[in-house]
Structures are given as C-alpha cells and as structure tokens.
C-alpha cells in the first residue's frame, strides 16, 4: 500500500539524512522468528463463517427471496417432519470437510463429513425439516458452494452459500 510521505519538504538536510537512516529496516533474526512462531498457540480450525452466520441467517429470514430449488433428485418424501438428505462433495486433497448451514448454526464442528472409499468424495446424511435451507461446505476452513445447487442470494453478504429446498411430506 502506498502511504503518503510525511511532510519533509522543509526538513533540514541533516534531519532528512537521519530519518532515512532510521527508516532502514531491522533484520529479523531467524532464531527470533523461530522462537516466536513456536510460542504461537495452535488455533482450532474454526472457519470465520461463524462470524458471518448471524448475518446469513438474518438475511435468509428477512429477505425470503431466492427460493430457487437446487437440482434435487428427490422422488418421495418419507413420513415425519424431517427428510434425509445426502450431501456429497469431491475434495481429494482436503483434510477436513464439514457441512454448514442455517440448520446447524453454521458451526463447522457440528456436521463433519466422511471421506468415501474412493478417497476423494466426502459425504454426510442429515435429516432436514421441510423448507428452504442455506448451506455450504467448509473445506479446510474455506467455504465452498455446491455447483449443482442454486446459489443463495445471501452471497452478497459475503457468505458463499447454496440453497436446498426440502419439500413437505407428500408434496412435490
């Protein structure tokens, strides 16, 4: 970032030279750096989406728009208030994947996904009540949308997310 230069136009030469000398960067010793980084505690991998979750949820509630249906293959809804939905994403190099959405308060620890036998696909089955749900995949801390689902309008709020609509029992 370019920063405005201090008002040195009328500064005497001796002072300009002194300031130039003082601006020389300090060498960062390797040992100092290594010691510092060793002291930094491990931060639990917790996607920043948690900070945005209230906004996303509020947007989903308040806007009530963007009710596009994701590409669903549902043929039937089995009785009861919740339907079982399988979410699946291909992430061969990921170390940790979870499903986040308004149904789990966007908590990446709530619904971890399991790596399938192919070693590349992560899957989880969840039970969702009828209605519209905004969701995303937390892949090693980064939010990923589902390319086969509709994007949520809440993207404008900084949360990449997809939409799934779970039909009511007996309905389409």
């Amino acid at each position: 970032m370019t920063r405005p230069q201090p008002d040195l136009d009328e500064t005497p030469l001796v002072l300009k030279q002194a300031i130039a000398e003082l601006r020389e960067g300090s060498v960062v010793p390797d040992e100092w750096r290594a010691e510092l980084l060793a002291k930094v505690p491990r931060r639990r991998r917790r996607p920043a989406i948690v900070r945005w979750a209230p906004i996303a949820i509020a947007a989903a509630i308040c806007l009530g728009v963007g009710m596009k249906v994701g590409r669903t293959r549902s043929e039937s809804m089995v009785g009861g208030s919740a339907s079982r939905v399988r979410f699946s994403i291909r992430a061969p190099l990921a170390a940790r994947v979870s499903l986040v959405g308004d149904f789990d308060r966007w908590d990446p620890a709530a619904v971890p996904m399991r790596r399938d036998g192919d070693g590349e696909t992560w899957t989880v089955d969840v039970h969702l009540p009828p209605g519209r749900h905004v969701f995303a995949y937390a892949v090693d801390g980064d939010l990923k949308t589902d390319p086969n689902a509709a994007r949520a309008v809440e993207d404008d709020f900084g949360v990449p997310s997809s939409v799934i609509v779970v039909a009511t029992a007996g309905g389409r």
């Binding site: 300031i19 300090s26 930094v40 491990r42 917790r46 996607p47 549902s74 939905v85 995949y137 589902d146």
Partner: protein, 205 residues
Amino acid sequence: MSSLARPTQLFTGDVTGAATAEVPLVGMTDGALVRRTLDGDARAFTELVDRHASACLRYATRMLGERSDAEDVAQETFLRAFKALESYDEALPFRTWLFSILINRCRTAMTQRMRRERRVVFDNDALERSTVEATQVAVELREELAKAIAALPPDQREAFLLRHVEDLSYEEIMSVTGAGMSALKMRVKRACERLQQLLAEGVRR
C-alpha cells in the same frame, strides 16, 4: 419417523485441491490473512509476522534503545495480537492496529526499567551492516543518531518515530496513542528541532 432407507436428495460438488491445500498467501491483504488465521491457517499468521516483524523490531529498537528488549517486546506484541485477533477491525490497517499493541508494550517496557540506568545500545544488525557498507565516519554518525534519538523525551520520540519513520498519519497516531492532534504535531516539531540541534552539535550527555 426418520429411519429412512436412502437419501431422498443428493447433492454433489467438486472442489479441487488447488483451492484448499496450498493457497498462495503472498498476494493476500493483511485482512485476508487475519481471516485465514482465524480459520485456523497457521501459515497465514506466519505471513503476517514476516510482513511486519522488521518494522516492529525497528520501532521497538529505536524506541527502547536496546535490541534485546526490542526483541522481547516485539515477540510479546505478536503473541498478544494473535490472541486478540478476533477483535481486529479491518477498517483500520493491520499494521496500525499492530502498532497500537506495540506502542503500549514499549511504554510498559520503559516504565518497568525507569529505575535502571538508561543505556544506549545500538542495533547490532545495523552496526554489522555498517562495518561492511559504510565508512567509520558513517558509523559514528549512526551512533550519534542513536544517542540523539535516545535523548529525546519518550513522548516526542514516540511521535517522531511513528510519523517520520513508520509513516503513520497523524490520524492513525491519534487513534493508537490517544493523544490529540495539536499535541502530536507539537511533539513531532519539538523532536525535529531537538534532533537537528543534537546532530549539529554532537550529542551532549
């Protein structure tokens, strides 16, 4: 009843490893690095350290006049910043926010050693460079400069370094020091005058 035999809906996505495993951090803004650090990416905080450690060590060394003290204070600053990262507001440049912590740590360090005899110890790295790069005259000038900086009252030294060495705007200095604009300008003005006088005459002790 929720004992379902098979999923009723199937969603599939595709995420390549390039987007997840080794995302290049070099081009990222400080704000993005902070977010990644909060996400648990340790590399992002290392990148922040690498970007700002030199300036922090420079300021602390100039402010405290003691390299080992400066290294302690700079380390403490980064560790405190790490713990307080959730409170960082991207409306403020990260470096300014980091300096607000550094300034307080320097003030604390100066308070703690108030009863110790003031010593002027130079930046060893700069001196090592100087033996290679500069003439003996230049070394002496550098030593005089360090002594002159150390001779300034702490509040003037702080304002002068932040304005003229670290290039913070007066508005930024106000936000991180709590001092008023007119007071800051007066401190910088007096520091410049005093430095000019000391450098012209030689350091008096």
